[in-house]
């Protein structure tokens, strides 16, 4: 049985729809991320799970119980906030002990659990400090310890790392995942950082415009995005609109031919795509920049290749980012560094190609 179940949850703010009939199930022990741009409704959904907001309609179940009408303080959820929200008038120890004192545990038990929680986040020696004496990363860890100390049924993380600098964020990501694995607690992370979501999560739910666009493993949402919104939000993408070719006689067994009229591959000849499976007669395809390969000699194939002209090039150490012109349109290519001895210059012409399994059809609409 799933740990958290969101059933047809909608939330309106006056006339604005922040969430529209979201359905979601999160499994016991899972690290689940809600990913989306700002204003997509991810924080609204988290606040509804936490009990700070009531849904306009729909229900929330935690551990099989309907908690929709239950106030936040009855839900036994651990929450970590973006700005840490440590109590400034209390010491680190008192902050972590806060929830335990509310539960009226014995002094010894409180001490034991606080010590345990602080050692989990490696802050045992900071117990008597006050929040203002700690760095941002340390405050974040105290916030995590405080949330975990009450042994919540679910851990909710609201953009917990977005106030940290890049290097510290990487470290904390690793540590967060580590802590979650050791405690084995069901966790929901809200973030707008796709890299964070991809590297931490078991599964990701991508929210856009109040709708849950796709739910899947990091691999699935990156490799097989459900629609254009997901494809464009996660990673970079080349979008190619194509029509099914009239003649499929040249297509090898199990492949389908499409023509992209917007891209002119060679004099009056549209770009020919060979794809794995048949979809609508007019379909939007996605091609990741790193799936495009480069060749300096002409290729002996008629599909999935083109002659292009370099427009822009940027060298980013371990990789090259190229913008190339194909007819009147542009494509972006990522390629590892050692392909060229000398970097090509804008205006240079070369050939690009890709495999049919790398051209992915996207669902229409959003």
């Amino acid at each position: 049985m799933s740990k958290i179940k969101i059933d047809q949850v909608s939330r309106h703010f006056d006339e604005n729809v922040a969430l529209a009939e979201v359905n979601l199930e999160v499994q016991e022990g899972e690290f689940f991320s809600l990913l989306g741009p700002s204003g997509c409704g991810k924080s609204t959904l988290l606040n509804i799970i936490a009990g700070f907001l009531e849904p306009t309609s729909g229900s929330v179940y935690i551990g099989g119980n309907d908690v929709t009408g239950l106030p936040a303080y009855r839900r036994n959820l651990g929450m970590v906030f973006q700005n840490y929200a440590l109590f400034p008038h209390l010491t680190v120890f008192e902050n972590v002990a806060y929830g335990l004192k509310i539960k009226k545990l014995s002094r010894n038990e409180i001490k034991e659990r606080v010590t345990e929680a602080l050692s989990l986040v490696q802050l045992s020696s900071f117990a008597e400090r006050r929040p203002h004496q700690l760095s941002g990363g340390q405050q974040q860890r105290v916030a995590i310890a405080r949330a975990i100390a009450i042994q919540p049924s679910v851990l909710l993380l609201d953009e917990p790392l977005s106030n940290l600098d890049a290097k510290l964020r990487k470290e904390m990501q690793f540590e967060l995942r580590n802590i979650q694995q050791r405690v084995g607690i069901t966790t929901i992370l809200v973030t707008h950082d796709q890299e964070e979501a991809l590297s931490l999560s078991d599964r990701i739910g991508i929210l856009g415009k109040g709708h849950l666009q796709q739910v899947g493993s990091p691999l699935e949402v990156y490799r097989r995005p459900a629609n254009r919104f997901v494809a464009e939000f996660i990673g970079q993408v080349n979008l190619i609109k194509a029509k099914k070719s009239v003649s499929q006689s040249e297509a090898p067994e199990g492949k389908v031919l499409y023509e992209a009229e917007e891209f002119e591959a060679a004099k009056n000849r549209p770009l020919q795509l060979e794809v794995e499976a048949e979809s609508d007669s007019e379909t939007l395809f996605m091609l990741r920049p790193e799936r495009i390969h480069i060749s300096f000699i002409p290729l002996e194939r008629t599909v999935n290749n083109a002659k292009v002209q370099l427009k822009e090039i940027s060298y980013i150490g371990n990789a090259l980012r190229l913008n190339v012109e194909l007819g009147s349109r542009e494509l972006t290519i990522h390629t590892p560094d050692p392909v060229f001895n000398e970097l090509p210059k804008p205006g240079d012409a070369f050939y690009i190609y890709w495999n049919s399994e790398d051209i992915i059809p996207l669902e229409a609409g959003e």
């Binding site: 936490a50 106030p71 303080y73 929450m79 906030f81 700005n83 929200a85 109590f87 806060y98 009450i150």
Partner: protein, 291 residues
């Protein structure tokens, strides 16, 4: 070059301050020094100011039973006023901060400061109209047969405190409201997520974190309440044991100016001591929270 421009800048700042400094120097510091000097002057039996100096007036203030009683009741009255103001101001400040929209908040602010926009005398006479023997409150209570005889609501310490609380409430509400609106709303959410209900969260998080606002309010209300004399004179009568009234009597009726000066300085020092203690508590609390 940087240094000289910095100097110029400083000079400019002082120039901007100069009119205020001059004004305060002439009308506050100089009279205060004059008052201090006067308080040490001896007087003869006809209350003529002599050129000799002594502590005699201070000794009189702190040894006379009546004056000591007056000092104690002044402090007591100011403390009660402060306490009542804080208790009444907190919910008002809460409402002010939580007002659902800007228009409503502006309206609340105007309502709050409106007592300050009327003159002391008019405001105080309004209280007389309300509280007098044949005033509005007594009339209504008699008409409703709740009481048979009119209550004596005026000319006592209670009336003074009631009038004070009304006037000084805004001075307590505003700093508390500021403190409340500075509060990170996630702190309350954090408290609730840790299992504390609304009331518990209020007493464990919101209230302690708004102590600075309460202390600031207390400092303002206490010093105002300990020092004003028009309100107690008009609603309490001139016989109330309140130090500012005694000073007023010494100046206007007895004409013992040095004794009045000594009382004034004593009152000032007493208020300073209270404000100083509250200020220290405030500072300690703030270093505890923010370093």
């Amino acid at each position: 070059m940087r240094k000289s421009s910095k100097k110029k800048n400083q000079l400019f700042h002082w120039l901007l301050l100069l009119p205020t400094l001059l004004f305060l120097g002439v009308f506050l510091v100089a009279p205060l020094i004059f008052l201090i000097v006067l308080s040490f002057r001896d007087v003869d039996s006809m209350l003529t100011v002599l050129s000799t100096y002594s502590f005699s007036h201070y000794i009189e203030v702190f040894s006379s039973k009546i004056y000591v009683k007056t000092i104690i009741s002044t402090i007591w009255m100011a403390l009660i006023t402060t306490l009542l103001c804080l208790v009444l101001a907190y919910p008002a400040a809460y409402l002010l901060v939580r007002a659902p929209n800007r228009k409503l908040r502006a309206l609340f602010y105007i309502m709050l400061v409106s007592p300050l926009l009327t003159s002391v005398v008019i405001r105080t006479f309004a209280w007389i109209v309300l509280l007098a023997q044949n005033g509005l409150i007594n009339e209504i209570l008699i008409k409703l047969n709740i009481i048979g005889e009119p209550l004596s609501l005026l000319w006592n310490m209670r009336a003074v405190i009631i009038a004070y609380v009304q006037v000084m409430l805004p001075f307590a509400v505003l700093p508390i409201a500021t403190s409340l609106s500075d509060l990170n709303p996630n702190l309350r959410n954090a408290s609730m997520s840790l299992g504390a209900g609304r009331i518990q969260s209020f007493f464990k998080v919101t209230l302690p974190l708004t102590i600075p606002g309460m202390i600031t309010g207390a400092i303002i209300v206490f010093s105002l309440a300990a020092g004003s004399y028009i309100t107690p004179l008009l609603v309490g009568g001139r016989m109330q044991p309140i130090l500012p009234l005694s000073i007023y009597q010494q100046v206007m009726q007895v004409f013992n100016l040095p004794l009045a000066a000594a009382m004034s300085i004593s009152l000032l020092v007493i208020v300073f001591i209270f404000v100083g203690i509250l200020g220290l508590v405030l500072k300690r609390w703030e270093t505890r929270m923010h370093g």
